[in-house]
Symmetry: C2
């Protein structure tokens, strides 16, 4: 790689020394790609992500295959990768999904709630509170098995049907997930409309309601190009868990745009420049995304992947 293969390191004040990247490319990314990839390619993707230094790699989903055919091979995939020395959370929508996950020895699960009624209806065919009721026994039983639980919360900033989402609404569902026993939250800007002041307001309101920053991860989408600026604001607030997708995999089906998840490479470029430790080797990660882009037969939307791979 050239002289510009890495940014110059200039730390900034008051930022955390270390950030944990929650890599969602293999699950959230591939679930939203048109092309379904073979199980062995998924396993190799996860292996390469682990080899690039990612320590938390969301592996797959135990949603019914009818809803997410791209990840219908969860039972085949998980055992292939389960011995990797990284955390491998999986998505679990209900008790049936939990049973399937527990049978495979899964140690971390995630449930996915919505901050808005419209998206709860569209995604889960339930009201917000009906969905929470569905998750309650899932979380309780997971905790009984000492399984770590993440609570995803979608549409925390804007909703394609409802427009801007009131912060108190997000806080209410966040508290319900924490009270239920979730170990951490992931606040999703599912359609990518958030801006930094909005992010800071939500984080402050959550703190006031005794949801600690240490339990909060942020999940930004780059639909309007705002993901990294929002991430910077969240880091300044003290957030140390950031979701990202290798190569920017996964458009958002609800935003009708080419770009969805924040690309892990764009995030790592910024964190590396800020002297924030992530454990990630950017060169290996970029090579992994280029390799996966070839399998998906479309170029990575990550700007860093494009810039670095043009140089090689």
């Amino acid at each position: 790689m050239t002289a510009q293969g890495l940014p110059m390191v200039v730390p900034s004040e008051d930022l955390p020394p270390r950030v944990r990247i929650h890599e969602v490319g293999a699950r959230d990314g591939l679930q939203n790609e048109q092309r379904t990839v073979p199980t062995e390619v998924k396993a190799e993707f996860i292996r390469r992500l682990a080899a690039a230094g990612l320590s938390t790699i969301e592996a797959t989903s135990f949603v019914h295959p009818k809803w997410v055919p791209q990840l219908a091979d969860a039972e085949e995939l998980f055992p292939i990768v389960s011995e990797l020395p990284v955390a491998l959370p999986v998505l679990v929508p209900n008790e049936r999904g939990l049973d399937r996950a527990l049978a495979l020895g899964v140690r971390r699960i995630a449930v996915f709630a919505s901050a808005t009624e419209s998206f709860a209806r569209a995604n889960l065919n339930r009201t917000v509170d009906e969905a929470l009721s569905m998750f309650e026994p899932v979380v309780r039983r997971a905790k009984d098995h000492k399984v770590h639980v993440r609570g995803y919360l979608s549409m925390c900033f804007g909703d394609p049907w409802e427009g801007p989402v009131p912060i108190h609404q997000v806080v209410r569902v966040s508290k319900a997930l924490m009270d239920m026993g979730c170990d951490e939250l992931s606040l999703g800007d599912t359609i990518g409309v958030a801006t930094p002041g909005h992010v800071l307001d939500l984080l402050s309101e959550l703190n006031e309601e005794r949801v600690p920053t240490s339990a909060i991860g942020v999940h930004f989408h780059d639909t309007y190009g705002q993901a990294l600026a929002n991430t910077l604001a969240a880091l300044q607030h003290g957030v140390t868990t950031v979701d990202a997708s290798a190569g920017g995999l996964g458009g958002c089906p609800y935003a009708k745009s080419a770009t969805g998840n924040l690309a892990t490479e764009d995030l790592v470029w910024m964190l590396q420049g800020l002297g924030i430790d992530t454990g990630v080797d950017l060169e290996r990660l970029t090579a992994t995304s280029v390799w996966m882009a070839a399998h998906l037969d479309r170029p990575s939307p990550s700007r860093t992947v494009r810039a670095l791979s043009h140089k090689e």
Copy 2:
């Protein structure tokens, strides 16, 4: 436009109430596009940018046509747009260019220096100091005519040949431009490698050397997806002049990547969400970029333009 046509407004503390966008699409953008557009299309582009609320629109360049054939029509273009009620700076490389500009009644010019020897050689075929010597009479004579002078400084963070650029080197050339009589500086991250801590360090060092923040504009490229995060850091430092290019026009020929200038729409989305006044109507601006993309026969790389135009 839908409920998501504008972000929810949530101001953040300690940010400036108003930002002046220095729109560079018509000059820096079109100069770096492969396709040359007819003079009347350029004029209409500038008219539409003005109608969208942009108050400073860099119009063209008086560089010799041999070097920038895309803007060889400067003499024809400028008189067509000169009556618009906006500031219309033009690029001027030397005394000959200044003569041409003054003959047309230009009221604002910009000179372009380099922070690195490699880029000064590549772009101007001179050393850094030889280029400064060339600009000295240009700036002096412009000031004699009460013409406002902007000093562009390229490669302020990284250089494709030299790698990371030492901050003291950038400060030295910045001071030389200010001492020469420039009214403002534009600090360019020409290859897009900067991260927020690096930006803040450079701004602080400039302040220590008595270059006030009020005289500093920032010019970020989105090659690695960092432009908006860097802009947020600069705003937090107090910067109120931000360069951007409508629709993200203009790749950077030295970075070999698809993306160059920060897109004005992505910037406006963030500023609008932060409650920072820019005077820009995002819907009109987006429509202008969609219109220009059709003339250039390539889609806008701006994420906000893509997201908003997909909805329409």
